[in-house]
Symmetry: C2
Protein backbone atom coordinates (compact mmCIF):
# COMPACT_ATOMS: atom_id res chain seq x y z
CA UNK A 1 0.00 0.00 0.00
CA UNK A 2 1.64 3.19 -1.01
CA UNK A 3 0.67 6.58 -2.16
CA UNK A 4 2.07 8.08 -5.30
CA UNK A 5 3.16 11.67 -4.83
CA UNK A 6 3.13 13.61 -8.02
CA UNK A 7 3.21 17.19 -9.16
CA UNK A 8 -0.22 17.94 -10.54
CA UNK A 9 -0.31 19.39 -14.01
CA UNK A 10 -2.49 22.24 -12.83
CA UNK A 11 -0.36 23.26 -9.88
CA UNK A 12 -0.05 26.97 -9.46
CA UNK A 13 3.17 28.93 -9.77
CA UNK A 14 4.72 32.29 -10.38
CA UNK A 15 7.33 32.74 -13.09
CA UNK A 16 9.79 35.61 -13.10
CA UNK A 17 11.63 36.46 -16.30
CA UNK A 18 14.95 38.13 -15.52
CA UNK A 19 17.11 39.98 -18.01
CA UNK A 20 20.44 38.23 -18.34
CA UNK A 21 21.93 40.94 -20.57
CA UNK A 22 22.26 43.43 -17.72
CA UNK A 23 25.29 43.53 -15.48
CA UNK A 24 23.40 42.80 -12.28
CA UNK A 25 25.07 41.22 -9.30
CA UNK A 26 23.25 38.23 -7.85
CA UNK A 27 21.95 40.29 -4.93
CA UNK A 28 20.64 42.93 -7.28
CA UNK A 29 18.84 40.32 -9.38
CA UNK A 30 17.42 38.77 -6.21
CA UNK A 31 16.01 42.12 -5.12
CA UNK A 32 14.41 42.62 -8.56
CA UNK A 33 12.80 39.19 -8.39
CA UNK A 34 11.51 40.06 -4.93
CA UNK A 35 9.96 43.26 -6.30
CA UNK A 36 8.18 41.32 -9.03
CA UNK A 37 6.96 38.65 -6.63
CA UNK A 38 5.51 41.12 -4.14
CA UNK A 39 3.72 43.14 -6.83
CA UNK A 40 2.28 40.03 -8.48
CA UNK A 41 1.24 38.46 -5.16
CA UNK A 42 -0.52 41.60 -3.98
CA UNK A 43 -2.29 42.18 -7.29
CA UNK A 44 -3.59 38.62 -7.60
CA UNK A 45 -4.71 38.72 -3.95
CA UNK A 46 -6.85 41.74 -4.81
CA UNK A 47 -8.10 40.61 -8.23
CA UNK A 48 -8.55 36.88 -7.67
CA UNK A 49 -8.35 35.82 -4.01
CA UNK A 50 -9.08 32.18 -4.88
CA UNK A 51 -6.11 32.03 -7.26
CA UNK A 52 -3.95 33.67 -4.60
CA UNK A 53 -5.03 31.09 -2.02
CA UNK A 54 -4.35 28.19 -4.41
CA UNK A 55 -0.85 29.47 -4.98
CA UNK A 56 -0.13 30.04 -1.31
CA UNK A 57 -1.47 26.62 -0.34
CA UNK A 58 0.52 24.85 -3.05
CA UNK A 59 3.78 26.23 -1.67
CA UNK A 60 3.91 29.62 -3.44
CA UNK A 61 6.25 28.19 -6.05
CA UNK A 62 8.43 30.69 -7.88
CA UNK A 63 10.69 30.01 -10.82
CA UNK A 64 13.18 32.50 -12.25
CA UNK A 65 13.93 32.15 -15.95
CA UNK A 66 16.19 34.14 -18.23
CA UNK A 67 15.50 36.46 -21.09
CA UNK A 68 18.12 38.39 -22.98
CA UNK A 69 16.70 41.83 -23.68
CA UNK A 70 14.25 44.53 -22.70
CA UNK A 71 12.37 43.69 -25.84
CA UNK A 72 11.85 40.11 -24.64
CA UNK A 73 10.34 41.41 -21.41
CA UNK A 74 7.80 43.47 -23.30
CA UNK A 75 6.98 40.69 -25.74
CA UNK A 76 6.21 38.30 -22.89
CA UNK A 77 4.22 41.03 -21.16
CA UNK A 78 2.12 41.52 -24.30
CA UNK A 79 1.42 37.80 -24.52
CA UNK A 80 0.46 37.66 -20.84
CA UNK A 81 -1.83 40.68 -21.23
CA UNK A 82 -3.49 39.10 -24.26
CA UNK A 83 -4.12 35.91 -22.30
CA UNK A 84 -5.35 37.64 -19.17
CA UNK A 85 -2.39 36.45 -17.09
CA UNK A 86 -1.55 38.65 -14.12
CA UNK A 87 1.84 40.30 -14.62
CA UNK A 88 4.10 43.13 -13.51
CA UNK A 89 7.12 44.61 -15.21
CA UNK A 90 9.75 45.99 -12.83
CA UNK A 91 11.90 49.09 -13.25
CA UNK A 92 14.92 49.61 -11.05
CA UNK A 93 15.25 52.86 -9.14
CA UNK A 94 18.85 52.84 -10.36
CA UNK A 95 20.67 53.84 -7.22
CA UNK A 96 23.31 51.22 -7.88
CA UNK A 97 24.60 49.19 -10.82
CA UNK A 98 21.93 50.16 -13.35
CA UNK A 99 20.73 53.29 -15.09
CA UNK A 100 17.65 54.74 -13.38
CA UNK A 101 14.47 53.31 -14.83
CA UNK A 102 16.02 50.20 -16.35
CA UNK A 103 13.47 47.45 -16.91
CA UNK A 104 14.89 44.42 -15.16
CA UNK A 105 12.28 41.65 -14.97
CA UNK A 106 8.71 40.57 -15.51
CA UNK A 107 6.60 38.68 -13.00
CA UNK A 108 3.92 36.37 -14.43
CA UNK A 109 1.09 34.88 -12.40
CA UNK A 110 0.60 33.23 -10.06
CA UNK A 111 -1.44 31.10 -12.42
CA UNK A 112 -1.86 27.49 -13.42
CA UNK A 113 1.52 25.99 -14.24
CA UNK A 114 0.24 24.64 -17.53
CA UNK A 115 -0.86 28.10 -18.66
CA UNK A 116 2.52 29.61 -17.81
CA UNK A 117 4.46 26.73 -19.35
CA UNK A 118 2.73 27.36 -22.68
CA UNK A 119 4.26 30.82 -22.71
CA UNK A 120 7.62 30.31 -21.02
CA UNK A 121 8.31 26.61 -21.48
CA UNK A 122 11.23 27.23 -23.82
CA UNK A 123 13.15 29.52 -21.51
CA UNK A 124 16.17 28.45 -19.46
CA UNK A 125 16.76 28.89 -15.76
CA UNK A 126 18.28 32.26 -14.83
CA UNK B 1 14.70 78.22 -5.96
CA UNK B 2 15.32 74.55 -5.79
CA UNK B 3 14.24 71.60 -3.79
CA UNK B 4 16.74 69.31 -2.13
CA UNK B 5 15.90 65.66 -2.66
CA UNK B 6 17.37 63.46 -0.01
CA UNK B 7 16.93 59.98 1.36
CA UNK B 8 15.37 60.36 4.77
CA UNK B 9 17.10 58.58 7.62
CA UNK B 10 13.86 56.95 8.63
CA UNK B 11 12.95 55.62 5.20
CA UNK B 12 11.46 52.19 5.24
CA UNK B 13 13.04 49.11 3.72
CA UNK B 14 13.14 45.35 3.71
CA UNK B 15 16.42 43.52 4.19
CA UNK B 16 16.94 39.95 3.07
CA UNK B 17 19.86 37.97 4.47
CA UNK B 18 20.92 35.26 2.05
CA UNK B 19 23.22 32.36 2.84
CA UNK B 20 26.33 32.58 0.74
CA UNK B 21 27.68 29.21 1.90
CA UNK B 22 25.11 27.25 -0.11
CA UNK B 23 25.69 26.34 -3.70
CA UNK B 24 22.69 28.19 -5.06
CA UNK B 25 22.56 29.40 -8.61
CA UNK B 26 21.59 33.05 -9.02
CA UNK B 27 18.06 32.12 -10.12
CA UNK B 28 17.62 29.89 -7.09
CA UNK B 29 18.78 32.65 -4.77
CA UNK B 30 16.44 35.09 -6.52
CA UNK B 31 13.49 32.76 -5.94
CA UNK B 32 14.39 32.43 -2.25
CA UNK B 33 14.57 36.21 -1.88
CA UNK B 34 11.18 36.43 -3.56
CA UNK B 35 9.74 33.94 -1.06
CA UNK B 36 11.03 36.00 1.86
CA UNK B 37 9.76 39.27 0.40
CA UNK B 38 6.25 37.96 -0.21
CA UNK B 39 5.94 36.43 3.26
CA UNK B 40 7.26 39.58 4.97
CA UNK B 41 5.10 41.90 2.86
CA UNK B 42 1.92 39.92 3.54
CA UNK B 43 2.58 39.61 7.26
CA UNK B 44 3.33 43.31 7.79
CA UNK B 45 0.25 44.20 5.74
CA UNK B 46 -1.85 42.20 8.18
CA UNK B 47 -0.06 43.19 11.40
CA UNK B 48 0.74 46.83 10.72
CA UNK B 49 -1.02 48.27 7.65
CA UNK B 50 0.48 51.72 8.23
CA UNK B 51 4.02 50.32 8.13
CA UNK B 52 3.14 48.38 5.00
CA UNK B 53 1.82 51.55 3.33
CA UNK B 54 4.91 53.55 4.28
CA UNK B 55 7.12 50.92 2.71
CA UNK B 56 5.04 50.67 -0.46
CA UNK B 57 4.90 54.44 -0.85
CA UNK B 58 8.63 54.86 -0.32
CA UNK B 59 9.39 52.52 -3.22
CA UNK B 60 9.27 49.14 -1.45
CA UNK B 61 13.04 49.12 -1.15
CA UNK B 62 14.68 45.73 -0.78
CA UNK B 63 18.31 45.01 -0.05
CA UNK B 64 19.89 41.56 -0.18
CA UNK B 65 22.88 41.03 2.12
CA UNK B 66 25.03 37.99 2.72
CA UNK B 67 25.47 35.74 5.69
CA UNK B 68 27.66 32.66 5.77
CA UNK B 69 25.79 29.99 7.72
CA UNK B 70 22.47 28.67 8.90
CA UNK B 71 23.53 29.70 12.37
CA UNK B 72 23.83 33.32 11.26
CA UNK B 73 20.26 33.22 9.93
CA UNK B 74 18.94 32.08 13.28
CA UNK B 75 21.03 34.55 15.25
CA UNK B 76 19.66 37.44 13.20
CA UNK B 77 16.17 36.03 13.54
CA UNK B 78 16.54 35.92 17.33
CA UNK B 79 17.68 39.55 17.38
CA UNK B 80 14.78 40.60 15.17
CA UNK B 81 12.31 38.71 17.35
CA UNK B 82 13.73 40.34 20.48
CA UNK B 83 13.34 43.78 18.91
CA UNK B 84 9.86 43.17 17.54
CA UNK B 85 10.99 43.38 13.92
CA UNK B 86 8.80 41.50 11.46
CA UNK B 87 10.75 38.59 9.96
CA UNK B 88 10.44 35.31 8.10
CA UNK B 89 12.94 32.52 7.70
CA UNK B 90 12.66 30.58 4.46
CA UNK B 91 13.13 26.87 3.87
CA UNK B 92 13.56 25.53 0.38
CA UNK B 93 11.30 22.75 -0.83
CA UNK B 94 14.49 21.19 -2.16
CA UNK B 95 13.31 20.03 -5.55
CA UNK B 96 16.54 21.25 -7.12
CA UNK B 97 20.07 22.15 -6.00
CA UNK B 98 19.48 21.94 -2.22
CA UNK B 99 18.54 19.30 0.34
CA UNK B 100 14.83 19.45 1.19
CA UNK B 101 14.18 21.80 4.09
CA UNK B 102 17.41 23.78 3.79
CA UNK B 103 17.13 27.20 5.43
CA UNK B 104 18.18 29.65 2.74
CA UNK B 105 17.40 33.20 3.82
CA UNK B 106 15.78 35.51 6.33
CA UNK B 107 13.53 38.44 5.47
CA UNK B 108 13.55 41.37 7.89
CA UNK B 109 10.97 44.14 7.91
CA UNK B 110 9.81 46.18 6.22
CA UNK B 111 10.76 48.56 8.98
CA UNK B 112 12.56 51.85 9.50
CA UNK B 113 15.92 51.77 7.74
CA UNK B 114 17.68 53.01 10.86
CA UNK B 115 16.30 50.11 12.93
CA UNK B 116 17.41 47.55 10.36
CA UNK B 117 20.81 49.18 9.88
CA UNK B 118 21.51 48.79 13.59
CA UNK B 119 21.20 45.03 13.17
CA UNK B 120 22.58 44.43 9.69
CA UNK B 121 24.79 47.45 9.04
CA UNK B 122 28.00 45.40 9.08
CA UNK B 123 26.90 42.91 6.44
CA UNK B 124 28.04 42.98 2.83
CA UNK B 125 25.91 42.89 -0.29
CA UNK B 126 25.02 39.39 -1.46
Amino acid sequence: MFRIMSIREDDSKMVILMRNDLKMGKGKAAAQAAHAAVVCALSIKKKDPAAFDRWMLSGQTKIVLRVDSERDLFEFKAIADAQGINNAIIRDAGRTQLEPGTYTCLGLGPDESSALDKITGELKMF
